[in-house]
Symmetry: C2
Subunit: 208 residues, 2 copies
């Protein structure tokens, strides 16, 4: 049985939309699901890249785009009280308990009910005390660091990303291509991809 | 009659795919087309952002994604001999003659036939000598600078982007949402968008 690895960070509303659909997609293609919480900020730092919420005009567009996509998927969407927020605490909880039910519970609290999930007081009503206490341990921190590094090593550069075999599908909007891949009908011509990847760089921004 | 402004840079294969479809979409919705060549590098510089081809893992993914999208659209796709390349020369030509036919001719030379379009020798067989000569003039350079600044001022942060009224739709994958907007059925709740835009920032990357 193949495994779909779902890399996510609660900070991303696209990851919320994808999380709502990924289990059905996995079931449809007889795949197991593996939930992999990772820290988007670490990916952006690694690639010296700015996130969509860090560029003012892109932030506006992202909000509108997410609202339109939620409407298309008939999913409720309510922004949390602050954004971007620090996602470390819920991510570490998800690392300790990488279970679909708990993770969807946190995603929905944040993006469906518009609640904060970035601090202990906000999370208390959402889970048992023991899990919450263990979120501060070195064990939880290490899993998140390891997950994130593993995702980077596998070619993940954004969230949500779905890894299957050695192939990465990035974004909520990649579900159609992912489905086709899972059906064995990916149209990629590997010879052409090799050719693309070996193209020389003709100009960098400094020279233009 | 409403006008669709199509902001593009020849450097983007997504812009090629979009260029192949935008005139039909405009015609379908009784809109005029305005082709606006802009310099993607200037947008990225302005936002201190890295382009997809500048992040190694994202570069791989972008190539694959573009191949899959071209397959979906049944469009031929052949990469140019070097990428990224310096797009200033063909952009300035398109600024002097912002005509769909000429612009599609250049897009197809680059992304369908896999030819270089970044230097005078490569462009000679593709157009008349006079246009090519004028591409080096201050007039052409000024139009490109003005176009790019105008796009930035209107909220454009990437290519391709389609502007209609005051609304920006980013990316080849935004055509479905753009069509719905043109039909008067955009599902956006402006009150909710206002609320989102006024959200406080709960954490920046430095504090996480």
């Amino acid at each position: 049985m193949r495994t779909l690895i779902f890399s996510f960070d609660f900070i991303s509303p696209y990851a919320y939309l994808a999380a709502e659909g990924i289990e059905a997609l996995a079931a449809q293609h007889q795949c197991k699901m593996s939930w992999r919480p990772i820290l988007l900020a670490a990916l952006l730092n690694k690639n010296e890249q700015r996130g969509p919420a860090e560029i003012p005009t892109k932030r506006v567009y992202t909000f509108k785009n997410v609202c339109r996509l939620a409407h298309d998927a008939r999913l409720p969407l309510e922004p949390p009280p602050a954004h971007p927020f620090n996602p470390l605490l819920p991510l570490r909880i998800a690392c300790l308990r990488p279970e679909g039910e708990l993770i969807l519970h946190l995603f929905r609290a944040c993006w469906k009910d518009g609640r904060a999930i970035d601090n202990v007081d906000a999370l208390k009503p959402l889970m048992d005390e023991d899990t919450l206490k263990r979120a501060g341990t070195e064990e939880a921190k290490k899993i998140l660091r390891d997950n994130t590094q593993q995702a980077i090593d596998e070619g993940v550069f954004g969230v949500p990303s779905i890894t299957i075999d050695d192939e990465v599908f990035w974004g909520y909007d990649s579900f159609a291509h992912l489905s086709r891949y899972l059906e064995g009908n990916d149209p990629l011509d590997n010879g052409k991809i090799e050719k693309w990847l070996s193209l020389p760089v003709g100009a960098s921004r400094n020279s233009s």
